[in-house]
Amino acid sequence: MQELIQRLVEAFGPSGKEDQVRDIVRGEIEPYVDEISVSPLGGLHAIVNPGGGTKIMVAAHMDEIGVIISHVDGNGFARFHKIGGVFPQTLVGHRVRFEGDVTGVIGAEASVEIGDAPKLAEAFIDFGASSVAECPVRVGDLGAFTRPFVKLGNRYVAKSLDDRVGVAVAIEAAKRLRNSPNEVQFAFTTQEEVGLRGARTSAYGLDPDVGIALDVTRTGDTPKGIKMAIELGGGPAIKVRDSGSLSDPRVVDLMVRRAEAAHIPYQLEVLQAGTTDATAIQLTRAGVPVGVISIPCRYIHTPSEMVDAGDVENSVKLLVEILKAPVTLDRE
């Protein structure tokens, strides 16, 4: 799985330009599913056992945060706007990549004090050009942060583990699953980082009975970190709530029961700031019961996100346990 994760995180895929990631996903998953299609917003739908049993949508988003060019000045410096939740403190000195293997480095105006994070309007991208004609990008071009994948001990460190690790978990689960008594709808969604957009239209199209999102969540295990009972290495986090949705208690219960029956470690997650595709899926059409398997992740939305390899493996196992047996949600 490490090789797959590395390929996925090193691919270029800011929101709205997910095609490189989609090509990798399609190449990996196509032999293991019965139907495959691309949605109008660019999502990849890969269906196992169409027409059979409970329809379970499993969503992982392919897009990552990034930048978009807003102006190229007379000296070839480019101004930009953010795509998704880019933090100002991750700007200066970082590198961004554009289609066609173009790389630039972010700088800031001198009015920004040393030690302060620049406002977006005070930052710019330097492509090594000295005129508009030399600048390799134009207004409207999308870029993404760049940083090579590394393994530190039992941990993976990379940009865009949010949510390529979720994408990898879904692909690996599809490979191990082979078949299911349920109709499993793997949905590799787009534009999550700008407002859960792809999941909303995918959920409308797939019309599932149950929705499960795979995404990263924050942890409370770093020095003077946030108060949160989630740690790296503690197993997949079964989400109870976040700032966008309350998981359906029946789905939470199902996840817990299947984890315990298979002796898979897990943690229960209450996330105070942030949300996932499940929020959009839940409110689709007449409503969809949803739950989330979260992969604990440090330093989210920086170019060095960190997850635990054991948590990734256990997330795959838990997802397979859920999907391989019939899923029914009884009303208590």
Partner: protein, 361 residues
Amino acid sequence: MGLDSPIPARPSATHLRLLRNLTEAVGISGSEAQVREIVRAHVEPLADEIRTDAMGNLLVIRKGPGRRRLRVMLAAHMDEVGLMVVSVGSEGELKFERVGGLDARQLVGKPVWIGKDRLPGVIGGKPVHLTTREERKQTTKVESMGIDIGVSKKEAAEGKITPGTGAVFATSFRRIRGTLRAKALDDRMGVAILAELLEHPIEGIELQAAFTVQEEIGLRGAQIAAHTLKPDVAIALDCTPARDLPTWDGEENTQYNARLGHGPAIYAADGRTLAHPGLLRHLVDTAETAGIPYQIRQPGGGGTDAGAIHLTREGIPSISVSVPARYIHTACSIAYVSDWRNTVRLVHAAMSTMTRSALRR
């Protein structure tokens, strides 16, 4: 293109009159009837189908020749930002709230038209002689403002105006050579363009014209219009701010949003939509092939009807094209005739050459 385009580079008297009537109409969000009637009068003879939906959107279908037509939704919003009367004060002054994004600093001292009969009034302001140094540093709060309609008794005002009545800036339309000066160019400009495009049926295209309501308070009308129309592709026609004057310190202006005279502003991204990459490519290619000037609107915040449309049902490939205008959402906005005409030409040319291959991502 140029020569074989059926779209005249100069606006006809009919289209200038249409734009004048549209911008001078009173139509805050939720009260678009006056605008709708002007549009209806222009487009009814052109329509294969025409109806007003539950929220007040005017939906007009015009089919070009051919079979298996591509269903293209073009949306332009009829509503404008403005004021709504909430009560009558003891001296007959009208208390109001804002509808849509209006800066309180733009209000004091402005003449307004109230209701469909355009009753004149003025938002009162204290003469500078009577203000204190402290007061002059502060923005007057909307709650303390009132519209003076020249009566001095509560009963007299109540006879003329009821709560819920809309009011808009009293700005008449003027064309000064290549420049247009009007209120509500956002988005009566888009409405005029869409009404004109209905005059030109295009082979292989079913034009679904949606004159939408309540855009300024959250893209509400477009959401249901798109659900009804189920188009293959959608383009929102709107009006975007041009903040293109030089900066005060002589540095290069890098935050202008859009610029007058640079042609239609094609969107790559705003706060609500990432443009469909195939449509973005198609519009840029069309402009370059036809020699129509264009600009990419600076990616940033804001949103158009496309923000609601592209998330409808399974998702609809969408993009926006705007005419740039200075000072929108104030009493008086400025646009160029050339940007208007080039926007009509670009959208017409883009539809004329549009096939399903433009919908490839």
